[in-house]
């Protein structure tokens, strides 16, 4: 349903992405992996409209989304989170979701029960009236980040390191939540995560980036045994 073809991006002459191709199928969880600066977040930025590519095409559900503005893409059903949570300042948690519903959905209607349901599923019901920017713990901010994206009622959810920085227990819990959400809302997902354990646990398929290019693609277990992938992480092959 999402198709990225020949995508290239450059920042001031430096190529951040070079002829990248990948696809996301319906109801699939795709992991984007690779070392720092490999181009994963840049891909997200292109898909969500933060960054304009030099060349390439991206189609989603038949829309040529590179031509659409950021807010239009949201109404097509593409939702994303940021690595560093970006709550809407000065609003409560519930208000965050209200705005997301109001502007993220094509018809612009706000359904309170849907909001309650989302809050419930990311375990934020008890914080619904708290100030989103100042009164949440990190796990809760991450949960809000996901909830905001969910409130736009996406069909494709892009998660950028939502688990990073969490402690082992909360990480496990949160991963379960994500799995639950995926089933509940029948989502496709693209996940950026550094923690390889998480990737293995969550993803149906992975795409490995290095130096702005896709160097491998496939089943997670197999891909992480691919010597080229290992080398991209650790330098030359160990031993």
């Amino acid at each position: 349903m999402l198709k990225v073809e020949d995508l290239s991006v450059s920042f001031g002459g430096v190529r951040a992405l070079q002829n990248v191709n990948f696809e996301v199928h319906k109801h699939e969880v795709l992991g984007l992996v690779g070392p720092n600066g490999a181009g994963k977040t840049t891909s997200f930025n292109v898909l969500s409209g933060v960054v304009k590519p030099v060349s390439g095409t991206v189609t989603y559900d038949g829309h040529d989304i590179l031509k659409s503005s950021m807010h239009q893409r949201v109404t097509y059903g593409i939702g994303r989170t940021f690595q560093i949570p970006q709550p809407m300042h000065e609003l409560t948690v519930r208000e965050n979701l209200i705005v997301a519903q109001r502007f993220g959905r094509p018809d612009g209607k706000v359904k309170q029960d849907r909001i309650d349901e989302i809050l419930e599923s990311v375990n934020l019901s008890h914080k619904s009236e708290s100030d989103a920017a100042t009164e949440l713990a990190l796990t809760e901010r991450k949960a809000l980040e996901v909830a905001k994206a969910l409130a736009t009622e996406p069909t494709l959810l892009m998660l950028d390191e939502v688990l990073a920085g969490l402690e082992t227990t909360s990480k496990k819990l949160f991963m379960e939540t994500l799995k639950k959400i995926r089933k509940q809302y029948n989502l496709s997902m693209i996940v950026i995560e550094h923690d390889i354990e998480t990737i293995m646990n969550m993803c149906d398929r992975v795409v490995v980036f290095n130096f702005g290019q896709v160097i491998a693609e496939g089943d997670p277990e197999e891909t992480f045994r691919n010597p080229e992938v290992v080398r991209s992480y650790t330098g030359e092959v160990l031993a």
Binding site: V14, G235, L238
Partner: protein, 238 residues
Amino acid sequence: MKYLLETDKLSAGYGAMEVFWDLSLTFESGRTTTIVGPNGAGKSTFLKTLMGLIDPKAGEIRFKGQNYVQEPTWNRINDGLVMIPEGRLLFSDLSVEENLIMGAYPKKTRKSMEKNREHVFQLFPRLKERRNQQAGTLSGGEAQMLAIGRGLMEEPEVCLIDEPSLGLSPVMTNEIFSIFRELKEEKMTIVLVEQNTNQALKIADHVYLMQAGKITLSEPREAVDLKRLEDLYFARTS
């Protein structure tokens, strides 16, 4: 004072986001310690906290036996604690040569600036070619060289090096590591943060593996079992 530099239950992060917790690490004088681990583990944040660029949330940093938590960054530099950041922390609108000159800002290093600069140009002839070019226009590898060269201009006693191989080709990586090897032979105390485990291990005296803000392995180089390290790294349970 057994360790030149050590941390005690150090925690830090950005805003509400905690990056690492309760880290107690020690670094011996004249030895090279490497911290390896996947990215996002908190390695760079740890170095920045050591330098005072990030305020710790809890814990202590001791350098030469003194608590450094309150010390501003510039005092740490003057005391010989120097960090070579990854290439993005350059003065991008200054020329290559000016970036190097700025490395000699600490008063005690100003006298030997000329000599050190020639030395750096010797190590990295590429930088000499591009001495008048703006640092912001350098390629990733050149920027990395410049960061290292600039760090050397500061005549470090303890040198914290952050991801030097990032974005570098294997050949270039080899070159840079051979320079670190030289420094190691000159008995400089080095703390090296690397994703490139292989290269890092080659010059390490002591190895830490850091994952998700925790130290999951701390062993002298000789004791490191590579297979086990790789398994830990890639979270292979078998």
